[in-house]
Amino acid sequence: MKKHNIIGRFASLILMISLFATSCKKEEQVVSPPLPGNEFLTTVKLQLVNTTTNDTVVAIWKDLTPEDTNPADTSLAVLNLKKNSTYQATIYLLDETKAPVEDITEEIKERANYHQLFYFPASNLGGNLAVNLTDTDTNSPPLPLGVTSNFITSNVASGKLNVVLRHQPNVKNGTFAPGSTDVDVNFQVNVID
């Protein structure tokens, strides 16, 4: 008698579990699109203003299909700069999958103590392009951030400029090594007459 009682309870438990299991079965049929509040890095825009002529030069590197094997659009990732000039540069990191476009640079500035931008002119530019960072974070002493900078050109030359955003939570020390890379893109730089 005891036995039947136990079997009965057991059977009803199984039934309950199965009902519970089937009731939430459709969950997988709803595929969540990218969350609206989350921002993706799609675009790196460099905006340079010539300090003497006030000419503005803009270069854009973009990949509108993030996390994908499709190649990036680098057709506009070219900076044509006058020789022996100084440019005030600002970098914009954008999410162009959104409308309107989201500016992620604001969040980088908010978390300035965790980030640093690095600009590496390639060796074939032969030192004819120098980049000096002009902004800092709130560390004590302050460390460079790199959202704004000065681009200083000398003679005619051509080569790549590598721009890297390092993510360095709690380990930022002004050097490249700690942390990991969030952005690593190349711009073609032509220093011209």
Binding site: K3, F10, T42, P66, E67, A72, S180
Partner: protein, 791 residues
């Protein structure tokens, strides 16, 4: 003094289902090929010549065996037996029990003058029909205890032929004969573990403290357990709830200096008496907390672990019926070593240039961002009904829900607090399984085992990444199998066939239009095996097994696309992949004598359409830089090797042993080696055993020297750096039991005694940091027993 008190008795008889081979010795009856192994733990050292004699009687038939520590009764028919002791322990044991399968029992004899009247032993969890000729290693409580506190995958390495795939020191999963993840099934307490096993950094969600017994089936053992097990099966069993009325409480505490880990596991069993006779309940829980681990030279930042596990079981047993209901919740939070986050290939290459991580750390218990948060809940119901002594039907239902949240090192770019606290990847998978198994024994020594199983699984992925790493899916699967075995004199022959069908529907969206779409795939195929065992005599046998098994491609192999952060690689799925088909053949030789034990095996596993990540020539460039690309590709592969286990008692109390595993993985399509094949390894050990104590436990000290060779057989252009150097580790372990009335068991293990700085080829974090340094583990186990034993 020793002679004075023959009022020894059996305190504790535990039926553990295990066998290495079953074979006939005295084939007097028909349909009889079961084996009973009795291990005897003596209270006191007895002088030579005073051997223990046990007699096993069934009706008119009486078999007597003499031995010192190990007695084997073979060629037994299923049924009820009377077991009694003669000679030294005359009159001590006199018990009746039922044998329905290969059975192993341990009898601990002590002088507490208690007598056990009846014991029933059922073998319900573990059917070996059709699997008996497969090479097998079983780890028992003592083997597992010596590695207490380690991840499960590391504990299983004590079995020869088993390695582990690690992602840092705290995430480990077993590799059997070079295969892992979806190619190895883990059956925990009768249920197939279903989670996101495809991921190399997804460790099995099992509380190692619940495991009393781990059996590794090496080779294609899919017949009984469903498709996919082309590498092998790991069977994990808890210890059985005693059928004697009373209460048992076991408290196990483990402390480890490295990571300052503390773990406490408590297991309470109560078996009711009188009206509720046969009903037992178990409540079990484990807490574990560890901080940053240390290598030989430095701490590893953010490598803490927190685990909270709970399980409960309700168990009812009478002569014919067993009903079991259980529920378990496993939760863990595992820190991911901060230095292992590579933003892109340049980051990884920079890390490889460093002799130690740039990221410095001290000891810290706090787990920071860069962690996994896992919950695995299991509900199980099992009914087993014995129609006769030799036939039974078992039905098992299981529900598993696995929630895995992975938080990356970096906060997402957002101002929305909900996004900032959300995991980068959030996997939810629910699995329902139903399985029925019927076994019977017929005339002419025929044994039959047949069964069917059903599975359905739903997976949901949400996360902050732009694309789903793996798509949402629903799958249904069904399978049926039949296995037969027949004994002809010294030969046992077995064969079996299984059919499985799998249907998979994925739910995806087009990321440009955000329109949902679905895609269906289905797979079906046969698994078959044929094997034989030749038994030369009581203690020596030769096994041959040939089998074929298959595995459907996993959803990540079909549709997974994306960056693998710790490997800095971009992996590209292929939705047209076919099933893998393995042809496995193995020969093993087993010798088990008191002074000498040998297990030697040679195997070859030929896998057609073996799915692997093929390196592509051009890297994938994303805004975060470039990644080497790998595409899921099918080739033909051959994995072959040799395992040897040897243990020899040189003089009384001193045993010498060795374990050797040699393995070669070959990609026969491109005529090159297979990547991530375990390196050859060998260990030698020396065991000093003392006198058994009151409870029959022997104190021991074991010195183990492990040598792992450098893996020189690696394919070209598939890895970022050459494999790490060979290494040697010295390990020490010792255990003893104290206390007469209330025993306390104490064990100490020292891993990497010489504090060697080393890196292992199969640890994916070897790019970034050394493996762990000297680790001292102290374990205390206190079993409390509250029982009324009949005088």
């Amino acid at each position: 003094m020793k002679q004075k008190s023959f009022a020894y008795s059996v305190l504790f008889v535990c039926g553990v289902v295990l066998l290495l081979f079953a074979s006939p010795k005295n084939i007097e009856a028909q349909g009889c090929n079961l084996k009973l192994t009795i291990h005897i733990s003596h209270t006191e050292q007895h002088s030579a010549g005073q051997e223990v004699i046990f007699a096993l009687q069934k009706e008119q038939l009486q078999i007597t065996k003499t031995g010192n520590e190990l007695l084997l009764f073979e060629g037994l028919c299923a049924g009820q037996y009377n077991l009694f002791s003669k000679g030294l322990y005359e009159g001590v044991v006199d018990t009746t029990f039922t044998i329905s399968g290969p059975t192993e029992i341990t009898i601990q004899v002590n002088s507490l003058n208690r007598k056990l009247k009846t014991v029933e032993i059922h073998d319900d969890h573990f059917e070996r029909i059709g699997n008996e000729s497969i090479s097998t290693t079983t780890l028992r409580q003592a083997d597992l205890d010596a590695n207490a506190g380690k991840p499960l995958g590391e504990m299983l390495k004590a079995a020869s032929g088993v390695n582990s795939l690690q992602s840092g020191p705290t995430i480990s999963k077993p590799i059997i004969h070079g295969l892992h993840s979806n190619r190895v099934l883990i059956i925990n307490d009768g249920l197939r573990l279903e989670s996101q096993q495809w991921g190399s950094e997804h460790a099995p969600e099992i509380d190692p403290f619940t495991v009393a017994n781990a059996t590794v089936l090496k080779g294609a053992a899919s017949l009984r357990y469903g498709s996919d097990a082309i590498g092998g099966v790991v069977l994990l069993q808890p210890h059985e709830i005693s059928i004697e009325p009373g209460t048992e409480l076991e408290v196990k505490a483990v402390g480890i200096n490295n990571g300052r880990m503390g773990a406490l596991s408590v297991c309470l069993d109560h078996t009711f008496s009188r009206k509720l006779k046969g009903l037992g309940i178990r409540l079990q829980g484990t807490l574990k907390d560890a901080g940053n681990l240390k290598t030989a030279r430095y701490f590893l930042q953010n490598t803490g672990v927190k685990e909270k596990n709970f399980s409960s079981t309700l168990y009812y047993q009478n002569k014919k019926l067993i009903v079991e209901m259980s529920g378990a919740v496993f939760t863990s939070k595992i820190g991911i070593f901060g230095g292992s986050h590579a933003g892109n290939l340049n980051d990884l290459l920079a890390a490889l240039q460093q002799s130690e991580p740039v990221l410095k750390a001290d000891f810290n218990r706090k787990i920071e961002r860069g962690f996994q948060d896992i919950l695995h809940a299991t509900a199980k119901g099992r009914i087993c009904y014995h129609f006769t002594e030799v036939s039974k039907l078992e039905v098992v239902y299981g529900l598993q829900r696995n929630l895995r949240k992975e938080f990356d090192t970096g906060l997402p770019f957002s101002t929305d607090p909900a996004i900032l606290s959300a995991p980068q990847a959030d996997y939810r998978i629910s699995t329902n399984t139903l399985e029925a198994l019927y076994t019977n024994e017929f005339k002419n020594n025929f044994q039959l085992s047949t069964g069917a199983s059903f599975i359905t699984q739903g997976n949901v992925f949400e996360g902050l990444s732009y694309r789903a790493l793996i798509p949402n899916f629903r799958n249904y699967g069904g399978g049926a199998f039949m296995a037969l075995s027949k004994r002809v004199k010294k030969i046992l022959l077995e064969t079996g066939i299984r059919y499985d069908y799998r249907w998979l529907r994925t739910y995806r969206i087009n990321y440009s239009t955000l329109n949902p779409f679905t895609g269906d795939r289905d797979f079906n195929n046969f698994t078959y095996t044929i094997g034989g065992t030749y038994r030369f005599n009581d203690f020596m046998s030769l096994n041959l097994n040939v089998g074929s098994a298959w595995r459907a491609p996993n959803v990540n192999e079909l549709y997974g696309n994306g960056v693998h952060q710790s490997a800095a690689s971009f992996e590209i799925g292929d939705s047209t992949l076919k099933s893998e088909r393995a042809f496995n053949s193995a020969v093993s030789f087993i010798l088990k004598k008191e002074k000498l034990e040998i297990e030697a095996g040679i195997y070859s596993n030929n896998i057609n359409n073996f799915i692997y990540l093929k390196p592509l020539l051009s890297p994938v460039t994303t805004i975060a830089g470039s990644y080497p690309a790998f595409a899921q590709t099918q080739v033909n592969a051959i994995i072959s090797g040799v395992d040897l286990d040897l243990k020899y008692q040189v003089i009384p109390k001193i045993k010498l042993g060795t374990k050797i595993s040699l393995i070669k993985g070959w990609n026969s399509t491109i005529k090159d080696y297979l990547i991530f094949t375990p390196a050859n390894r060998a260990e030698v050990f020396l065991v000093l055993e003392g006198k058994a104590n009151e409870r029959g436990k022997k104190p021991y000290v074991k010195i183990n020297y492990l040598m792992v060779a450098r893996q020189n057989n690696v394919p070209q252009n598939s890895d970022y750096t050459s494999p790490p150097a060979a290494y040697q580790l010295l390990n020490l372990e010792a255990a003893s039991s104290f206390g007469k009335k209330q025993p306390i068991e104490v064990g100490i293990s020292i891993y990497n005694l010489m504090n060697v700085a080393y890196r292992d080829y199969l640890n994916r974090f070897r790019y970034f940091a050394d493996d762990i340094g000297r680790t001292v583990m102290l374990r205390i186990t206190i079993p409390f027993t509250f029982k009324k034993l009949k005088k």
